[in-house]
Assembly symmetry: C2
Homo-oligomer: 157 residues x 2
């Protein structure tokens, strides 16, 4: 039976959109792709943290627009909905490349609180008016990352 118009249209759109991103839309097999997606989130957080740290240390010129952008972007990333990213069955050992500890699923409130801590620390850096102010906020920012990793991230694979 010929696929409906909607199915063919959606297929064409989705394939066209994601083809060059190398996303293999396997039948119902999205779990491992969730690991890749959350690692991408972490890479974006690390990138923006590096900008703030570079400015704090004087390795990059202080730039208020870059400070605000980096801080807001980290806060946005920390506030994202985790339902699509930490899918059941993707803990370390169950999904390739995953370092997710089972506590993520057994203690969702704690996991959520860790992200809120990151969001708060990042938001506090918006408007930091010079390198010293950025530096003053890095403690809470790095502390949020560290605390979450200690509890919810396993060893390197």
């Amino acid at each position: 039976m010929q696929k409906s118009f909607t199915t063919r249209t959606v297929t064409a759109i989705v394939c066209g959109v994601i083809a060059t991103a190398g996303f293999a839309a396997s039948h119902g097999g999205g779990e491992n792709k969730s690991v890749e997606a959350r690692h991408a989130m972490m890479q974006m957080i690390a990138y923006h943290t590096g900008i703030l740290g570079g400015i704090a240390k004087g390795e990059m010129d202080y730039d208020s627009a870059m400070v605000d952008a980096a801080a807001m972007n980290i806060a946005s990333l920390a506030a994202m909905d985790r339902a699509t990213l930490w899918i059941e069955g993707t803990e370390q050992g169950a999904a390739a490349d995953s370092r997710a500890k089972p506590e993520i699923w057994s203690d969702p409130e704690g996991f959520g609180a860790a992200f809120e801590k990151l969001e708060t620390a990042a938001s506090a850096l918006v408007g930091a008016s010079d390198a010293a102010a950025v530096g003053a906020g890095m403690g809470d920012l790095g502390g949020a990352c560290k605390a979450c990793h200690e509890t919810y991230r396993g060893p390197e694979n």
Copy 2:
């Protein structure tokens, strides 16, 4: 001269946070890392678009929480501050792996409008109540991606 307490603290925090992300905090050389970071953003958008497309096509069960999470996450990504991601001097040919066309910097209003189109299309999918409703919104979503790519993304490297 010994580094100040602040510098040492910030260094320790930043290195500890980002070491396992493989982020090489080279002296002032963040430009190429911006390409990697925006590709991570695009990967996250593609991943979430794939979830919505999979649900629309019936390849994945309809799940309202997943639909809302995917739609909201795409909207959040589309709304991120681009100052840290599309840095001057990172167009295709100038930065490794970049496919960014110069129009991104010569037509920032147009580039911004393209992201607003994506944010609007994604936001419209929040609350889509069944697979058909998700399918109905995929046209605008895919159309936003396609339109931006046609104008601001160069050929594969």
